[in-house]
């Protein structure tokens, strides 16, 4: 056991210098990567990645990265995130379970920070209360409600809490339950969830509930106009505001191989999908990828709070 820890730590200690290199050069990540590919011999890590060493890990498990940053132009960080990943490995069971949430408090409201924090606390505890023991207890018993009903109730519960504890505050929320290879998503607002495939495809799972997006969907404005629209961050659906919201709820497969990406508009509003993919695919692990994404968004001005959760299924 002790040896195992030593090994683990050894491999840990070798990484920080590299991380710093990445940090320093992150605006030029693309160039560095190209140069690496053409001239430099492959590092151990790159080799591992190429041979997909991570894929052979058993039992299959979630590898999670997360990052949260205030950005370059805001005083306070109104984003909140939550990650939970657990795993049972036994002869008759091998099941990873995860809960991942990103929430972006309303910029103009005094209670923005409270709203997003209340959202992630309420939703995560609601979900874990109902699912954790049911999955991992001695007598696993599925809940009577469907997963779609449970996540929807969690969102609505959060809405009620925010209305009470942070009146006037509002927040987006994108929440995901993963059980095994399937995920259940619930979404309100303009944070986003993407499936990121290794061949470069980015599949946006969520639909922005923003005024501008709606105008674009209706053909009133072009995608270009949308990017520069003055009311870019106006939402027509948010938690804590108005009536009990009806979240978009749906079931999808976790991309395998690939990543699930959750992020606030501080990331997707600043970096293009191609840039996001390039950083993710160039990073050693989800954790580094998240940090590099934040750095890249800050390098481009960091106009808003930046929050990223990146999940990869090993197997």
């Amino acid at each position: 056991m002790k040896k195992l820890f030593e090994n683990l730590f050894k491999s840990k200690t070798s990484s920080p210098p590299e991380q710093e290199t990445l940090k320093r050069t992150s605006p030029l990540v693309r160039d560095i990567k190209m140069a690496d590919a053409e001239t430099a011999p492959l590092s151990e890590e790159q080799l591992n990645r190429l041979t997909d060493g991570e894929h052979r890990i058993q039992p299959m498990q979630l590898v999670v990265g997360a990052a949260r940053d205030v950005g370059k132009s805001r005083d306070k960080n109104e984003d909140a995130l939550f990650t939970h990943s657990s795993l049972i490995g036994a002869s008759n069971a091998s099941l990873p379970f995860g809960v991942f949430i990103v929430a972006d408090g309303m910029g103009g409201h005094s209670h923005g920070e409270m709203a997003s924090e209340t959202a992630v606390r309420t939703i995560s505890s609601y979900l874990i209360d109902r699912l954790f023991t049911a999955l991992y207890g001695n007598n696993p018993t599925p809940p009577a409600e469907s997963l779609q009903e449970i996540i929807k109730s969690a969102i609505q519960e959060a809405h009620r809490k925010i209305t009470k504890s942070a009146p006037g505050g509002g927040t987006t929320v994108t929440a995901v339950i993963t059980i095994g290879t399937q995920m259940t998503l619930a979404h309100v607002g303009d944070s986003r969830a993407y499936n990121v495939f290794l061949d470069g495809r980015m599949h946006q799972l969520t639909r922005d509930h923003s005024l501008v997006k709606r105008l674009e969907e209706l053909g009133q404005i072009t995608a270009e106009e949308a990017v520069n629209h003055p009311q870019k961050s106006m939402l027509y659906r948010a938690l804590g505001q108005g009536d009990v919201p009806d979240p978009d709820v749906f079931t999808a497969s976790i991309p395998q191989p690939g990543y699930l990406l959750l992020c606030s508009d501080g990331l997707w509003g600043v970096l293009s999908e191609d840039q996001i993919f390039e950083i993710i695919s160039g990073a050693a692990n989800p954790q580094r990828a998240c940090q590099s994404l934040v750095d890249a968004a800050n390098a481009r001005g960091g106009p808003d709070n930046i929050t990223v959760v990146l999940v990869r299924m090993s197997n």
Binding site: E149, I179, G180, T184, T206, T251
Partner: protein, 626 residues
Amino acid sequence: MTDSSTRKFNTGFQSEGNTQLKSGDLLMDRYEIQDIIGIGGMGTVYRARDKNFQAIRLVAVKEMISQINDPLVRKKIYLNYERESNILATLRHQSIPRIYDYFIHNDRAYLVMEMILGRDLDAILAETTTFFSESQVIAWGIELCDVLHYLHSNQPEQIIFRDIKPSNIMITPQNHIMLVDFGIAKLFDPNEKNTMIGTQGYSPPDQYRGEATPKVDIYALGATLHHLLTLRDPRLEAPFTFSERPIKQINLNVSDELVAVINRAIEYDPKDRFDSAEHMKEALINAGRKTGLLKDFLGVTTSVSPQTKVKPVWSFECEDEVRGSVVVQDSMLFVPCYDHNLYALDASNGAFLWKYATQGGLPGKPAVYDNNIIIGSEDNRVYAISRRSGSEVWIYYGTSPFRSSPAIAQGHVFIGSDDGYLHAINLLSGRLSWKMDAGGGVRSTPFIIQENIYFGTESSELICLDFGGNTRWRFRAKRAVTSSPTVVNEIVYFTSVDATLYALDANTGWVHWRFRFGRPSISSPMVVDNHLYVGAADHVLYCVNAQTSKEIWRYQAQHQITASPIIYKDSIYFGSVDKFFYSLDANTGQLRWKFQTEAPITGSAFAYNDLVYVGSSDRMVYALLA
């Protein structure tokens, strides 16, 4: 999600001029590339899915890459191409593929058109070892004349095809011809601009002089028919030497009437050929009439109107109701019937091949494996019957009726019985390997995937077993689960008599979502690309989004829908207790056609080779054009 968008990461795309699109690439945010179906000098032809439609619509996407670097010349080429596409887009004929779209993307031109199934005549010629029958050649010839006449009479601009030859003629699975490759490629390629369009061997002398008249196409058609009758490839012979290879010298069986028609079409001097394709068509019909060969093909000359009354291509009468589901394998149709017989028919014409008599009614769907058919009977037995001879291979004896349909995997037949067990029977010996106590009758057909067996019970459960018969999980619904589960992307979909459609996690049995019907259901869901189709006793055929569990459309029949729908190409097919068999547009749920039988339809249909087969309680099996 409704607004999901897939994007391609395209570094270096422009610089690599000859890169082909990959499976999964999305063009114009609309056409998802699936596969390459052809490669030509100008570029690649892809099979793609049109994502603008929620259900599956396949299209052919023809890519043209110009190698010219001069931007002005390129622009002109694209303009030509666009003009030509515009002309083609106005054409409407059953033998011409429909043009849906064209666009320029990444400096390549794309033409999106109807996906044509079938093979071109050149490929068919390459494989044939015997002469084509005269009646077949006449039938194809008549259709070709028909489409040429249509092109030649196009207004305001007459269209001359200029390159009739076997490789430009597709034969569809229904044995109709389609003209493909409308010379756009040639107009598009400036290298061929000043050279002749056409193919040596099939093109007449006048075409070498630069003439483009209907007579050019008539000659090439004559040359093509000559090739079909003699199997002598004119490209391998000196040009204009047909007179040196009289048809009858090579193929004695051709009638003098047909020889005369072809010889007139391939006259050296255009003046001596038929005036028009229409005249040639009449001559072909007359030749067919005189020899009595045309009777099989009457009707091919009339343009098909889409709203004609549906008539079966053939039908077959059994001795009792057909309540079960039919299956086609290797051109044989298997029909389980309540008269205790399993019938084997020729799928193309309904000819009786053999029948096998069991001692009870056959309510399920046969499974075909290798050379055997497996079926359960209400006589408490499971039969394995030789596909060729119709004789029994083995019989498995149970104690209660087998109303479930067999599923085959891992050398075993898995089948449920009213005795409350799921039976695993060795496929070779017909002996029991194990049986699992399901706690209630099993009429649901097991679904087997990745070493797991999923099935429903009359005692309200959905059970997941491993191959050893050990329970992995059980899920309890509120009423019987008679429908058969289907598993897609690790989610189990099934319906219950408790009027609910369930989506369970295939690994845990947890409920992802539920969808409520107005009444119970025993119809088994069918899932394609996140769209789930299922019927219920509330007379409704539902299309539900499998991710969001939201209804996309519904179609109201006049009575219960107990059968499971099938999807074939862009259409959903199902029968109802209201006696009708329906064909709906899978995208919209709009009725395409319906066909009335004399009694309720409870079994599922089977589609194969553009025919849909279904049995009815009126004792008939019908083969309908899809």
